[in-house]
Amino acid sequence: MVLIQIFLVFTIIAALIAVEAPSPLSSIISLGAVGFGLSIAFLWLGAPDIAITQVVVEIITLVILIRATIGKGVTEVRGNESKPLLIGSLILFGLGSAFFANYLSAFPEFGKTAMDVPMDVFSETPSQYYLKFGLEKVGGANVVNDILLDFRAYDTLGEATVLFTAVLGAITLLNKEVFFGKGGEK
């Protein structure tokens, strides 16, 4: 438990460096430190699927960001936004913290899941049902993948649609130059 907190503090420090570092290369590399630190935290939290995905996705995110930004005259943008915006964001942050503190008690305390809290209406949570009948009804030993591909396959289909749309948007934005050269129309 202390170990997880240490990793989270590490990610917070790395995120602060990533936000405040002046050179784009060092800030992108610090962003990578955030992702890898979180991936180790996921491993300690008992989620190996997510740790694998996080590592690989982080690598490709870094490659895309570096390819897109390095050598672009390089983005020496200093200074912050205007002062009223900072004050407004501070007020927003205070409101958000108040809401968070208010609803924090509704979550199960750390180290317990929603499965451990007794409920008054239903006899078991969805997670308990999935854990109990995953092997019997779907046949996969990995319960996360059982949920992903059978119990909640609609979510996965929607995810495929969202990924398709995002990629289509990126390609449409970049398309003209790739096919017709720098001038555009032809």
Partner: protein
């Protein structure tokens, strides 16, 4: 509770970067940090003290497995969210690159001034 608070602080760092920075790349990085924080928070909710990963092995009793495994539902939600975030990052980078090509800078105040 302290652990949930740390995830919230990570979210706040990302929010600060999105609201307060002028560099377009820093804004994209803030959004990525916010996504990380939300994923970490969802996984923290599903954590069970001295539990195991929700993966069955041969010879494991199901009744015991239900009482020791982590919550698999947040994990299944987060695994899709991570891959979607990669697609969204590609889309945002494409927009930023096109803006750079048009205006010659990543500074959003300059982009705002040179409208039209």
């Amino acid at each position: 509770m302290l652990t949930y608070l740390l995830a919230f602080i990570l979210f706040a760092v990302g929010l600060y970067s999105v609201i307060n920075k002028r560099n377009l790349i820093k804004i994209i990085m803030g959004i990525i940090i916010m996504e990380h924080a939300v994923n970490a928070f969802l996984i923290l909710i599903g954590y069970r003290l001295s539990g195991e990963a929700p993966i069955l092995e041969e010879g494991m009793a199901i009744s015991e497995f239900v009482n020791t495994a982590m919550d698999p539902l947040p994990q299944a939600l987060v695994i899709t969210s991570i891959v979607i975030s990669l697609g969204v990052v590609a889309l945002m980078v494409a927009i930023a690159v096109r803006l750079y090509q048009h205006y010659g800078t990543f500074d959003i105040t300059e982009i705002r001034k040179l409208r039209g």
